[in-house]
Symmetry: C2
Subunit: 181 residues, 2 copies
DNA sequence: TCATGGTTTCAATACTTACTGAAAGTATCC
DNA sequence: GGATACTTTCAGTAAGTATTGAAACCATGA
């Protein structure tokens, strides 16, 4: 088997497995596959190319491409002379990370803060022992959720350089030098 | 409406909404509800109480309770004189967080690292321009995933005190003092 | 203005995942 | 050993999500 065959297999594998992983990250398999395809495409691709490569319907391709645009992970580009829209993924890993972090914070943490705030408020006056315990638990959860929210906010605003330096200095972690790979 | 009514409403609300949030965190609604119920129960509860409170079947209650035990978020306790098993949730917020962090790392990051490693490896020899770009992209993703994995690992081993101190010192974040609430 | 090429929507359907309830399994007590 | 109290499994079903494909829509150029 040639190096090129290996490479083609690796590409297909990446797309299909990235899709499978997507489901465990709470996004649909197809959306993750479309994202994978775009991340490894040197050129922006059209809806038709996407349908072709992933063997999916037009509607499905369209929905997922637009949803990725909605997340901010994909940009629409128009080539001059062409009427079609083409799609191009953000390829910078740190940028992708910060975008996803912000989106997940918005979907997963912020609503929890709201819920906990309400529950803490409504159990403020209760005198019973279990009522007090409930109130206390809501407060602790709320403190933590707000804290997590702020950490997410702060990190998502960092540039890659400062972030990595920061992590290294205080957690003693740095990605290995490429030469050691 | 009395404070007690408010409190009961808040409890029900917490359970139902925590369940809804669960789906956006990649766990099933019922599992999140069971978890919520246990988090606010002053006493350990039995399978039957769980069925009763959440109005779900025995099989469902059983599966979800055991799955929470599998995550390490819930412990089985046996009361003396009783043959039933009772279930008790970990209530310490930081502990819950570190458990969930570890589990999500294991499910969401580690498999990605494996995938990327394989894809990078199999595209090593490829000479074409797009092949090189692919290889490079796999390496960047891999570096980042390994880095994220280590950060997760490190944080999940921290105790609450050091973690909060650390976050405060370098990100300038601290949960507000309770007196200000 | 209409024909063409492209985008968007959406009802019907397929697929996936969660839940039920009853039956089978296990441990304990007398 | 057998009755009792509880736990576990699982085939069938219900509920929830994603996908298709075709029709409606929109923009452009002749």
């Amino acid at each position: 088997m040639s190096a090129t065959d290996d490479f083609i297999a690796a590409k297909d594998d990446f797309i299909s497995q990235w899709g499978a992983l997507g489901t465990s990250w709470g996004i649909s398999r197809t959306m993750a596959q479309v994202h994978a395809l775009l991340m490894i495409s040197p050129e922006p691709i059209s809806t038709d190319q996407c349908m072709e490569e992933l063997q999916i319907s037009r509607g499905n391709a369209h929905t997922n491409l637009k949803e990725l645009v909605g997340w901010g992970l994909v940009k629409i580009v128009v080539k001059k002379g062409e009427r079609k829209e083409f799609f191009e993924a953000e390829k910078d890993v740190w940028k992708v990370f910060t975008i996803v972090l912000r989106e997940r914070k918005r979907r997963e943490i912020d609503p929890a803060v709201e819920l906990l705030k309400g529950c803490a408020e409504r159990s403020k006056q209760v005198k019973s022992v279990e009522g007090k315990a409930f109130h206390e638990q809501m407060n602790e959860l709320q403190d933590f959720a707000i804290f997590a929210s702020k950490v997410g906010e702060t990190i998502s605003q960092l540039k890659y350089g400062p972030a990595i330096k920061f992590a290294d200095k205080f957690l003693g972690l740095l990605p290995k030098d490429k030469s050691s790979r």
